[in-house]
Symmetry: C2
Subunit: 430 residues, 2 copies
C-alpha cells in the first residue's frame, strides 16, 4: 500500500492528514510533541489568560478514528530524498512513497542567539510558560524592593517586534498591569508598570495598510502601551536593552524583555537538497512539490510558495490550504490525474490588541476597535480545535471579560516552587 | 501595630490568614510559590485530568481585599526565635510579634534520595507535570517499539505506596490505559498496560478500617490494578524496581515508577530550637504554640499536635482547624484572654480510587463504591478554592465522565517539544 509520511502536525500537516482520511493509503504522522498547538492563541497562555490544555489537543486523540493513520512522537533529524528515507533521532528509519514536510518555523535572533536567555520568544508551550513565569515574577520582585528606584526596572516590560504577536503581547501585558493585578499589591502600584513596544519599521503591524497600523497604535496607547517605531535593537542583557532610533542611541532599563521579532524556517529544509531562499525556506513548484521530486511536498511556513505571482504569507490559513492541496495532489498522482496548481485564497487579516481592541481587513473592508475584536473572538473560537476546547476557552474568556481576572496566573518551574525531585537532582549534580 | 508573620500558604496558613481578616493587626504572608495549591486534587493534574490553573489560585488574588495583609513571594531560610526574626533567601530580614509556621511537609525517600530521579513523587505542580510527562511519554515510547518484549517495560507502571495518593494514582492510571487511550494507538493495545501498586503494610489505605481497605482493594482490582501488599522496595533504577515480599525477592521491570510513600516535615522546623519528633515534626503545646515561645505557633503537617491525647493526623481538615485556632489564640493573647486548647474535629475520611470507586467513613458510617465516589466529588468541588475553579473543575469532570476523555494530555518540558530558548541555552552551556 502507498505509504505517505507527514512531518509536523501544525496547521499544514494536520490539514494534509485530514484530507487523506478516506484514501486507500497508509499514513505516518510524525511530530516532536504529542499535541497540535493552536498557535494564534499561544500569547494567551504566555499572559496567563488560558491554561495550556485549552489550546492544545493530543494529536493521537485527533486521529483516533482515522484508521489509515499512525501517529508517532519523535524528532526527525534528516531526510534522504534519493532513497526516500526519513531518519529519526533514535536511529529508526522510515521509507515513504510520498512525503509532506510541514515542520514550520521558529523564532530567530538574527544570529544573536545569546539573546535567547534574556529575551525569550513565544513559539512553543514551554516558551509561553517561560514568558508567563518572568512576567508574573517581575511583579513579585518589584513588591519585595524597598523603593521605587529599585522596583522600576522590574515594572518595565519591553516587547521587541510590532507584528501581530508583539502587539497582542504588549496590549495584554498592559491590561494585566492596569486591571488584573490592580489592588493586589501593597507596596507597588501595578498600574505604574511601563510596557514598551519596539518596532523596526515606521509603524506597527507592517503587513496591514497604514491607516489600520495607525488605529492599532492609537488603541495600544489607549491601553497604556508606549509604542516606539523605527527602532533597531543593538544589545539586550539581563538589565534591559539598547536601541537606536531617530533620536540616536537609547537605553531602556527593563528586567523583562520579550522577543516577538524574527522567524526562521525549520532546519529540516536543508536536507531536501534544493537551494533555500534567504529566510531558509524551501522554494516549491506550483503544485507544492520540490524540483525534481514530485513525491516530496513542502507546505506551511517552511515553503516559499507563490500564488498568482505573489509570495504566499506565513499565516495559518495559507498553511491549511497548502496542506489540503498537497494531499489532493498526491491522490491525483496516484490516480494518474494532472496535479492542481496551488492558489492562495486570502480571506483577510486580523490582529487583536487587547480588551475590545483589534484591527481587521476583509477584502477591501477595514474595521477596528470593538467590532473587530468581537469578530476576532468569533473567528478564533470557531477555528480552535475540538468542541470541548472551544467551550472551555469561551468560558474562560467570558469570565475574564466580566471580572478582568485571568485564570492561569500560576508560576511553576525554576523560580517557582521547586519540586523535591528537581531539588535533589540539582543537589546531586552540584 | 502588631505584626504577624505567616510562613506558608497551604491549608493551615491560608485559614490562619483568613481568620485574622478583621483584626487590627498587620500580617505578612510568605510563600515560596505564587499560588495556593489544592493538594487533594494534585493527582488529577499528574494524571492529565485537570490543568494546573484549575487547582491553584494566586495567593495575592485570594487576599486582594484583605487590606491588613501583605503577600510576599520568597523562600524563608531561617528563623531566629530569640530575636523574633525571619530570614529570606535574598538576605532580607523581617521582624515579627507573632509567628505562624505552616510550611507543611514534602515527600521523603527514607534516606534514598537517589530514587528521586527514577521515581518522582507528587507534592508540587512541577512534580505533577513530571509524572504526567513520564506517564504519557511511556505510551508514546511503547508505540515506537517493534515488538511486545520491547514495549512491555514501557507499558508497566509501578506506584509505590498504598495510601490515599498511591491508590488514587494507580486507579486513575488504570483508567487512562483502559479507557482514555484505548483505540488511539496502532501497534500497542493500551489496555494491556500493567499498573502495579506496592504497599508495605498488609493492606492498602492503612488509616481506614480493614473492611474498607478490602473494599478499596477489590475496587482497584476491578479497575485493572495489580495490588501487592506486605512489599518492601529495596532498589529502584531506570528499568524497574526490586522488592521483597512473603514470596522472597522479586524484580518488576517497569520504565515508569511513581513514589507515593513517605512524608517528611519541612526542614524549617529545625530552626525553632525545640526537639523534633522522629518524623521531623515540631511538638506543640495544647494551644499550638511551641514551648517557651507563646508568640510562635506551628500548624498543619509540620506540627506534632495531640487532641484528647491522640495524635492529630496530617490531613487538610486538621491543618485548617489548627490554622484557625492559632489565629484565634494570637488574638486572645493580644486581648489578654486565656488561650484556647486545640481540639481536632474529625469529620471522617475519604479516599477516591477511580471512576465511580471510593471509600468513605463518616463517624461510624462506612460506605464505598459509587455512593462514596459521588460524596467525594461533592466534597472536593465544594472545598476547592474560588468560585470559578469550582465551575471549571465541574465542567472538566462532567466532560471526562461522559466521554472518558482527559483534557490535560499535554506533554511539555525536557522530552516534549523543546523551546528555542531552551535549545539555545543548552547549546551555549555545552
Amino acid at each position: 500500500m502507498t505509504h505517505i509520511v507527514i512531518l509536523g502536525c501544525g496547521f499544514g500537516g494536520l490539514e494534509a492528514a485530514k484530507a487523506l482520511a478516506s484514501a486507500d493509503v497508509s499514513i505516518t504522522l510524525i511530530d516532536r510533541s504529542n499535541h497540535h498547538l493552536f498557535q494564534p492563541l499561544l500569547y494567551q497562555v504566555a499572559t496567563a489568560g488560558l491554561s495550556a490544555p485549552a489550546i492544545a489537543a493530543p494529536i493521537r486523540h485527533i486521529f483516533a478514528h482515522q484508521r489509515n493513520l499512525t501517529t508517532l512522537m519523535g524528532t526527525v533529524t534528516d531526510i534522504d530524498v534519493a532513497q526516500r528515507l526519513v531518519m529519526l533521532e533514535d536511529g529508526a528509519k522510515l521509507t515513504y512513497d510520498y512525503l509532506i514536510v510541514a515542520t514550520g518555523a521558529t523564532h530567530s535572533y538574527f544570529g544573536r542567539d545569546e539573546w535567547a536567555a534574556v529575551a525569550p520568544g513565544i513559539k512553543t508551550l514551554d516558551d509561553a510558560f517561560e514568558v508567563r513565569r518572568r512576567t508574573l515574577l517581575a511583579f513579585e520582585r518589584a513588591e519585595r524592593e524597598n523603593d521605587a528606584t529599585q522596583s522600576a526596572p522590574w515594572l518595565t516590560f519591553a516587547v521587541i517586534g510590532g507584528g501581530a504577536t508583539g502587539v497582542e503581547m504588549a496590549g495584554t501585558m498592559a491590561e494585566i498591569a492596569r486591571h488584573t493585578l490592580h489592588g493586589e499589591f501593597r507596596r507597588i502600584d501595578s498600574r505604574q508598570a511601563r510596557v514598551v513596544l519596539l518596532e523596526g519599521n515606521d509603524r506597527v503591524l507592517p503587513p496591514f495598510p497604514p491607516d489600520l497600523s495607525e488605529k492599532a497604535r492609537k488603541q495600544l496607547e489607549k491601553l497604556g502601551v508606549e509604542v516606539r517605531t523605527s527602532c533597531r535593537v543593538t544589545a539586550i542583557d539581563a538589565d534591559g536593552l539598547t536601541f537606536t532610533s531617530a533620536q540616536g542611541e537609547e537605553r531602556l532599563v527593563a528586567k523583562t524583555v520579550i522577543w516577538a521579532a524574527g522567524v526562521a524556517a525549520s532546519p529540516l529544509g536543508k536536507s531536501l537538497g534544493v537551494a533555500l531562499d534567504r529566510a531558509g525556506r524551501v522554494p516549491v513548484e506550483p503544485d507544492l512539490s520540490i524540483a525534481g521530486h514530485p513525491e516530496v511536498y513542502v507546505v506551511g511556513d517552511l515553503a516559499a510558495a507563490t500564488s498568482d505571482g505573489k509570495p504566499v504569507p506565513g499565516v495559518s490559513p495559507a498553511a491549511k490550504q497548502m496542506g489540503r492541496t498537497a494531499a489532493r495532489n498526491i491522490l491525483r498522482r496516484l490516480r494518474n490525474q494532472p496535479v492542481e496548481i496551488f492558489r492562495y485564497r486570502d480571506y483577510g487579516s486580523l490582529a487583536t490588541i487587547g480588551r475590545k481592541a483589534a484591527v481587521a481587513m476583509l477584502g477591501k473592508v477595514k474595521f477596528s476597535g470593538f467590532s473587530a475584536w468581537l469578530f476576532w473572538l468569533f473567528v478564533h473560537i470557531y477555528f480552535l480545535i475540538g468542541f470541548r476546547n472551544r467551550l472551555m476557552v469561551m468560558a474562560d474568556w467570558a469570565w475574564a471579560y466580566m471580572t478582568f481576572q485571568r485564570s492561569a496566573r500560576i508560576v511553576t518551574g525554576a523560580d517557582g516552587r521547586e519540586s523535591k525531585t528537581a531539588a535533589i537532582k540539582r543537589q546531586s549534580e552540584m
